[in-house]
């Protein structure tokens, strides 16, 4: 049913992603799909990586680690954005096209007051994406 499952990840907060990562891996096993982990960062040095290349390397390593630990096939994709705080949603939506994913599994927080002003990334992606989106809370 699904061939490529895209999983947006924030390498600075992997601890908060466990449910989404496990869920995505289970689905991938069930459908025999490939996981594509997608990370977005600015080109400026940040807490995860100092350069876009280092970031790409870390995403690839992360994917390899996940593939081994969970027994699935996985790839990593690192994307660069000028202003990740505000450009995350459009960048992820573009990534869906680029990766050819047919399902997105992403973690999100339980909605609160600020979601009325700034909708969660999971919410926005689910609203705009043309493919199925599963938001894990």
């Amino acid at each position: 049913m699904f061939n490529r499952i895209m999983v947006p990840v924030d390498l600075a907060h992997v601890d908060k992603l466990e449910r989404a990562l496990r869920c995505a891996a289970d689905l991938a096993q069930h459908y025999g799909a490939t996981l594509v982990y997608v990370g977005v960062a600015a080109a400026t040095p940040g807490s995860v990586a100092h350069t876009p290349q280092e970031f790409a390397q870390k995403m690839a390593d992360f994917a390899a680690g996940q593939a081994q630990a969970r027994g699935v096939t996985a790839e990593g994709l690192a994307l660069t954005s000028h202003d990740p705080t505000t450009d995350l949603d459009p960048t992820l939506l573009r990534a869906i096209e680029e990766t050819g994913a047919d399902l997105v599994v992403m973690a999100s927080h339980v909605p609160n007051l600020t979601d009325y002003i700034w909708p969660s990334n999971g919410g926005t992606v689910a609203k705009r994406a043309k493919v199925s989106v599963m938001v894990v809370r």
């Binding site: 400026t44 940040g46 807490s47 100092h50 350069t51 202003d83 990740p84 505000t86 600020t114």
Partner: protein, 547 residues
């Protein structure tokens, strides 16, 4: 400096460059927390200390306005008068340093590694650096500065007890109209041309180099790594960053206040809107609201779009004034003024043994301190958008092109205003107060109602583009160099900036005294900038070796 080849640790930026290896992890001092529903990711202690200091200073100026005013204006005159030679010499060094980087082989080093591609097109990049860097000054001084120098030059010199009491540049040009015009433009262009942009270029280049090529966080302290080593991550670095936040926020807040005054004067002239604090508070609120939308939309969707609109409008107004005014005279003037600038440049930039003390201290030294106090903000913003350019390309575009645009702007606006006085005997602009000169000059041209309206919009948009880029810069510094801090933080700084401006505007003399204080921060930052030149040089040598 503990440079290490890429194979030993962190992978290279695109192509060869020399990453600095340090145990510091970006964001290690940050606190990630939630206040109510708002997520925060702030640097400890830079965020808290700078916020608290700003509030304390605002209270001080409000509670003891006279005492604070006296203290700040004493500090201001001590700095600009006592250290005039230092400001002038330092600015000359920055210009020469930048020009050298264009011609030397190190100019081929690319920011972000040898194979990095530019983040922005030339138009978008240029619009952003111009809107952040010059902004409102062009609107405020475009007409008034050439006219002031013209009037003082033609008035000749005056002396009392062997000291000059007039404000004319150099030896003045008593009674000689043509010579006075040339001298007036040489002096104006001197203040808006190579020197200010060299100041910005030095800061921007230092930050871009140490961030994109060396892997250090995008904050002011990173440029000190070659000098301070790992101590930059401790208190010496905190102090540098806090000072930068301070200078940026107060610089923006005072400009917001003055800009509101000019926009208000224009609105009064055009629509009879009453002049007073109510209108000005509304104006600051509107400017802040638009800036807020811009920062929430982000760098590409907000700041860049506004900067491009800004540049388009400015170009429109410039072309209109050029063609509605005496076109041929202005264009020949442009060439003539540029030549005058080059002729007078050595004398104007000479730091010692001058007798035009008032001009040198009250104009030049004031301007240099002012540009330098703005340089952390403008420099950091330019750095943020300049990845992928070579050093040579970077300097040409940050130093030479904006300088030429400024020359053109001043020649057109000031040129028309002076022609109005000299040729037509139209003296309305000459007699008007500072904030009205632009609108009175436009009055002397056709379609004044429309162009004045565009003028007011431009004043406001110029402020929005300074306010939004400033908020992003402060947000990045107070998040320890992280550019992906949560949105509520940049919203906080943007609102805080507007609030400080309003509070200062409502207190008598609050704006003036704080402007004096901001300019006084120019002195420590001059030393910072000189150190940056050394750091850039060292950093570029290492990059060259890596090629």
């Amino acid at each position: 400096m503990t440079d290490t080849s890429a194979s030993q640790g962190i992978p290279e930026p695109e192509g060869s460059s020399q990453i600095i290896e340090t145990d510091y992890e970006i964001g290690q001092d940050n606190i990630e927390t939630r206040i109510g529903p708002f997520g925060l990711d702030i640097h400890n202690p830079v965020f808290v200390v700078s916020g608290a200091c700003i509030i304390a200073f605002v209270f001080y100026t409000l509670a003891l306005p006279e005492q604070a005013g006296a203290a700040f204006s004493w500090m201001f005159s001590a700095v600009t008068k006592g250290f005039d030679w230092f400001f002038l010499s330092a600015a000359n060094i920055f210009v020469l340093f930048c020009l050298l980087l264009i011609v030397l082989p190190v100019g081929s080093v690319r920011l972000g590694g040898a194979e990095a591609t530019p983040d922005y097109s030339y138009i978008g990049w240029f619009a952003m650096l111009f809107a952040a860097g010059m902004g409102i000054g062009l609107m405020f001084y475009g007409v008034s500065e050439p006219m002031s120098h013209f009037a003082s030059s033609i008035g000749g010199t005056a002396a009392e007890d062997g000291a000059r009491t007039d404000w004319a540049p150099l030896g003045a040009a008593a009674g000689d109209e043509q010579a006075a015009i040339r001298l007036a433009f040489a002096a104006t262009i001197f203040h808006w041309g190579l020197h200010p942009w060299a100041i910005y270029a030095v800061v921007a280049l230092a930050l871009a180099l140490f961030s994109y090529n060396k892997g250090l966080p995008l904050t002011i302290r990173s440029a000190f790594y070659p000098i301070l080593g790992d101590r930059v991550w401790g208190w010496p670095g905190h102090v540098i960053d806090i000072l930068a936040v301070f200078a940026t926020l107060f610089g923006l807040a005072t400009s917001l206040g003055f800009g509101a005054t000019q926009a208000n004067a224009g609105l009064n002239e055009l629509f009879g809107v009453p002049v007073g604090s109510t209108t000005e508070v509304i104006l600051i609120s509107v400017i802040t609201a638009v800036a807020l939308i811009s920062v929430v939309r982000g760098l590409d969707g907000g700041v860049k779009v506004l900067s491009e609109i800004n540049m388009g409008l400015a170009a429109l107004l410039l072309l209109f004034v050029l063609f509605a005014g005496p076109t041929i005279a202005i264009l020949t003037g442009f060439v003539d003024y540029l030549a005058a600038y080059l002729t007078y440049l050595p004398a104007l930039s000479n730091p010692v043994g001058r007798d035009d003390t008032n001009f040198m201290q009250g104009w030049t030294s004031f301007y240099w301190a002012w540009w330098i106090s703005w340089s952390p903000f403008v420099g950091m913003f330019i750095a943020r958008v300049s990845r992928g350019r070579t050093v040579r390309e970077f300097i040409i575009c940050v130093l030479l092109i904006p300088s030429l645009v400024c020359v053109l702007w001043m020649s057109v606006f000031g040129g028309v205003a002076i022609q109005q006085v000299v040729q037509d005997g139209y003296t309305a602009a000459q007699e008007a107060p500072l904030e009205l000169k632009l609108f009175k000059m436009l009055d002397g041209l056709p379609l004044a109602a429309i162009t004045s309206f565009i003028g007011i919009i431009l004043v406001i948009v110029f402020f929005v583009t300074s306010s939004d880029s400033g908020s992003l810069v402060i947000d990045t510094i107070t998040a320890g160099g992280k550019v992906d801090a949560p949105v509520p933080q940049r919203v906080f700084w943007c609102i805080f900036e507007g609030a400080v401006a309003i509070v200062l505007l409502l207190s008598a003399g609050g704006l003036q005294s704080l402007q004096s204080m901001v300019i006084s921060t120019g002195l420590p930052f001059t030393i910072v900038l000189l150190a940056m030149c050394v750091a850039i040089w060292k950093g570029l040598q290492a990059e060259r070796r890596a090629l």
